[in-house]
Symmetry: C2
């Protein structure tokens, strides 16, 4: 039994996420004249032999002007939902870009996740999956640090977590957990942001941590 392979059309669709004005935002590009929707995700076909994450980096970089810090596949779709380029199969990839980075081209714009324009059905699905994956992974992977510049204040970091989790966190508990994890180290710089006491800047510098063998957490199920 040697199955026969059929040829199909393939697209890589990229969801670039970044915190913009206190909301998680997606980078969209203006559609060419005649398209059914005015906006779409940046997308392209991968080159021959090009890894999918490399294709995503190329696609996002062209639109954003800088290459996002992190990529993760959020699922491949082959169902009937319409794609702007009529690709039969789409690989959805989430990309995280630090706050303030990049200079979108004329044809691109940031939209808060909560108020997106109409997208082709497949792009809409991919955006929803990207948001779900990022929100789900934030506890297992240092995703939040990819949404911040190399140095940041602990309040910045907490704000990103609050954005991703859509709920307020307790300052003291947040800092205690962070301290115990050896994920950040202080720099000797401080940032003064107008009002209030200046905040110390930290950088992401994970130390090797001893195996934190915890019990099974049945209360984290999401489905």
């Amino acid at each position: 039994m040697k199955p026969v392979v059929r040829r199909t059309t393939l697209a890589v669709d990229v969801v670039v996420l970044s915190p913009r004005s206190d909301a998680l935002a997606v980078l969209l590009v203006r559609s060419p004249a005649g398209a059914r929707e005015r906006w779409s995700l940046p997308w392209d076909a991968p080159a021959i032999g090009e890894a999918l994450e490399d294709a995503a980096a190329r696609i996002a970089g062209a639109v954003l002007g800088s290459v996002p810090a992190f990529f993760e596949q959020v699922g491949t779709l082959s169902d009937g939902r319409r794609h702007p380029g009529d690709a039969e199969v789409s690989v959805g990839i989430a990309a995280l870009s630090p706050a303030g980075s990049g200079a979108p081209s004329e044809e691109a714009e940031w939209f808060p996740l909560a108020s997106l324009p109409t997208l082709a059905p497949r792009h809409r699905t991919i955006v929803d999956r990207a948001a779900a994956v990022v929100r789900q992974r934030v506890d297992q992977s240092p995703l939040a640090f990819r949404l911040l510049p190399p140095t940041f204040t602990l309040s910045d970091l907490q704000s990103v977590y609050e954005l991703l989790l859509s709920r307020r966190l307790h300052k003291a508990s947040f800092r205690r957990a962070l301290q115990a994890s050896y994920l950040v180290e202080p720099t000797d710089e401080w940032r003064s942001e107008g009002r209030g006491r200046p905040a110390q800047l930290f950088r992401y510098a994970p130390k090797k941590r001893r195996g934190a063998r915890r019990g099974v957490r049945f209360d984290l199920f999401t489905e």
Copy 2:
């Protein structure tokens, strides 16, 4: 800008996982004569318009004789690693099948994850990713219940968790956490397994749980 879509060859490669004789095992099929490796993952091209998970169910069902209880994509590969059917792009899908279910065809056999035969490089990568994804998700999703028959003892359940996590768990803590989660309910059946006290059988019956708002867990990072 309307990118041009190129046609490519696409395969769905399925990693069927099931607990067999106290180890997590993968279902492999014998390769046709002349292939470079003697064994490979079950795979095929998706039919036109067929969703990828449906294709995986079809492929696994044909080899296993029953359809696995759960499917999840573990990543799509387009790099240079060799695929047995020379597909340019592969979608890897993990499938979970309950212990004892299915009757593999003549051409198929279970292999413990720890002692696999040589596979085509792309299949090897997909198996590794499937194992990693399953192990990583076991805390957030009721995966373990998909590896058990509809009714099971709490010791069975704990054994599956120990298989997936590769470490021993404490009985009392395990049961307390399970109790608090309202995920299982007792049946009025008991199973006597030779030696020892008979165990009560439970079934998976998740109750709506109150929002368990916990703090951020920096200690769960896997990278």
